[in-house]
Each structure stands twice: as C-alpha cells, then as structure tokens.
Symmetry: C2
Subunit: 205 residues, 2 copies
C-alpha cells in the first residue's frame, strides 16, 4: 500500500535534498518522485521551505533508529560505539561510491545563511548528535582522563566526521575519511592510555 501523501512528499524531498541539495531540487522534482500533484503539496506545506523544515524534523526523529541504534546494536563498549557510528557514515560513502555524505552537513553549508529557522533546525540535529556521542563518553568516563571536557571532544568527533565525509566526497575516495577516523582513533587511544596509566584514581574527583 502507498504511504500517505504527506509522508511520500517528505521522503521524496529527503532523498532529493540529500543527493542534489535544496536549491537544485525543484518542487517539480519532488512532485514527480513522490507521484503527487502540485495542489497536494501546497495543501500540506505552505512553501518549499516548510517542506525542508519537515524533512529536518524527520531527521531529528531518525537519529535514534537510523544512526544510533544500528551502531549500538553491533557493539556495546561505549568507545567502540562512537566508532561504530562513524562506520555507519563510512557505509553510506561506500554504498554511494562516495557521492552521498551526511545529509545534515550537506544542508548546513548550503542553508545556514539563507534561513534562520532552517539553520536553527540544523543546529538542533547537530546538538542531538553530539549529545548521543557525549553519552558514550560519559559511559566510558572511567577510562578517560578525569579532567576531559566531554563537550569539546564530542564536538571534535562531529568535526572529524563532517570534515572526513567532505573530503571523501570531493576526492571520491574513502582515504581521507579513513585517515581522519584513524587519526581520531589514535588520539582517543592516547586519552585512554593516559586514563589507564595515571596514578591511583581518587574517588569523587
């Protein structure tokens, strides 16, 4: 059975915005892909931008089932989970021959100056992503330096993912992504080593 019209529109827009960006995807493209007529789209969404906002709302909802859960089901160690999440983005690069990257990062650079409300929704997506990663760092706090700033490190991990994906797409090669993730791994191994070999740990410090 066909999904409801509104949902079909959001999915079509999501796919198009991911592969071609927002400006380059015309309303007509969305209509064709969703097999919906113009009148119906504008019944559900006042403007094309409202459709984008609905897509970004959906990404907020999809973080858990599409990004976190699949990664967390594969491994249970909190630090491994961080890299399992990153491996998920690698998988997207592999499957698309390095053509598709992070859907949010995509829209981030394109839309940040064009619409405040869109920018704020993208920021929300980033905040939720970092929060999930930060929780992994909290769960692994016994192996990490006690004075570690987990907010900073979570932002850094998102930075590495987005920067690695960007270079992979530009070079159509996994190499820069893998190099970036491997270097992050080296850094975090050093943090753990420091956490492990430091003198007797004090309670409540």
């Amino acid at each position: 059975m066909k999904k409801p019209t509104r949902q079909r529109l959001i999915e079509a827009a999501r796919e198009l915005f991911l592969s071609k960006g927002y400006e380059a995807s015309s309303v007509a493209d969305v209509l064709a892909r969703a097999e919906v007529n113009s009148g119906s789209l504008y019944y559900f969404f006042k403007t094309k931008e409202q459709l984008l906002l609905a897509v970004l709302d959906e990404y907020v909802d999809l973080l858990e089932p599409m990004v976190l859960r699949p990664a967390f089901e594969r491994v249970s160690d909190p630090l491994d989970r961080v890299f399992a999440v990153l491996a998920g983005y690698r998988q997207m690069l592999v499957m698309s021959d390095c053509r598709l990257g992070c859907p949010i990062g995509n829209l981030a650079l394109e839309m940040s100056e064009k619409s405040e409300v869109v920018r704020e929704k993208i920021a929300l997506n980033f905040r939720n992503w970092r929060k999930a990663i930060r929780q992994c760092l909290v769960d692994a706090r016994d192996r990490l330096p006690p004075d570690l700033d987990r907010h900073k490190l979570a932002a850094f991990i998102l930075t590495v993912m987005e920067g690695g994906v960007m270079q992979a797409r530009v070079h159509r090669s996994l190499e820069p992504f893998d190099a970036s993730v491997a270097t992050l791994k080296d850094y975090m191994d050093r943090l753990v080593e420091q956490g492990t070999t430091r003198p007797i740990q004090q309670a409540n410090s």
Copy 2:
C-alpha cells in the same frame, strides 16, 4: 582605476559564491556586482559553470598570498604555522559573525556531484592546501614521531578545519571551531611529547 572586466567578473562571482553559494547566485547578481552587462560576461565565459571554474582557478592562485603567506609571516615555527593558518579561518569567522567559512568547503558539498570538472578543481584546491600543511610537518619532523604518516595528519588537519568551520556557521558561534582546534592542538602536543621523550634517537631511522 577600474580593473579589467574579466577580473571584475571573477571577483564578483567569488564574493557571491562565498556568501550565497553557486546555485543561489544568479548571473544577474554577478553582473550587477561587477557592473558589467550580460553580453560582456558571455564574451569571456561560455557558461556560468566556466565562470565558477575561473573562480576556482583563482583560489588555487590565492592560496599562497591570501592563506599561507599572512600566516607564515606571523610565526616561523612550522607547527605554529599550522595553527596560524587555522587562525586565519577563525578570523574569517570572526569578521563575518560566523557567516562566512571556507570558500572551497562551501562549494565542495554543493557542487561535488553536479560537475566532474568542478569537483576535480575543488580536489586540486584541497590537495594544494594539504601539501602546504604537510610541508610544515616535514619541517617539524625532528619533533614528531619518526613513523608519523604526514599525509594522514595533513588530511586530518584539513578535516578539523572544515568540520570546525561548518559547526561554527551552523551554531553562529566560535565555540565548536575553537573546541576542535584546541583538541587538535592537544593531539599534536602529544605527538611532539612522544617525539621528544622517546629514547635516544637513531640516525637515519
């Protein structure tokens, strides 16, 4: 005196593509900003895409005088120079209230799938950037681990810059950029420490 028409067109396009992106900048916008008429633009450039390619060629030429030289003039230590380059991008964020980021990264995500020749020019810009950073790492090789993969680390540094700039623009805040650069600094300090404290260094190793 007014600059030659062709140069005015490239500069106008450069500014517009930086602040609004390629698709969102119309040819009419470029013409107005450059104070040139349609006929002249199409005398120099066969299409809008050819104009973009000329802009990307100019960025290749501008890497040395606009990005590297100003940073390298301020400091001479090769590792400090890496962070001086990053500070240059921070300055761009500061001056634009976190609205303008890396011009190449901007176009990278927007244009990579739309045109192979554009993607290749963007890749060239990235390669040259990494090469300059790699030279800094070569110049500092005595303080870095002997088995360090400088290609990987240079890619990582570009990753950190691009990812940090992206988050800064989305959140309209320097915080994620500063957090990312500070974490990179921490990592590289650890590499130097390892290089410094490692046992008596063997020659030709």
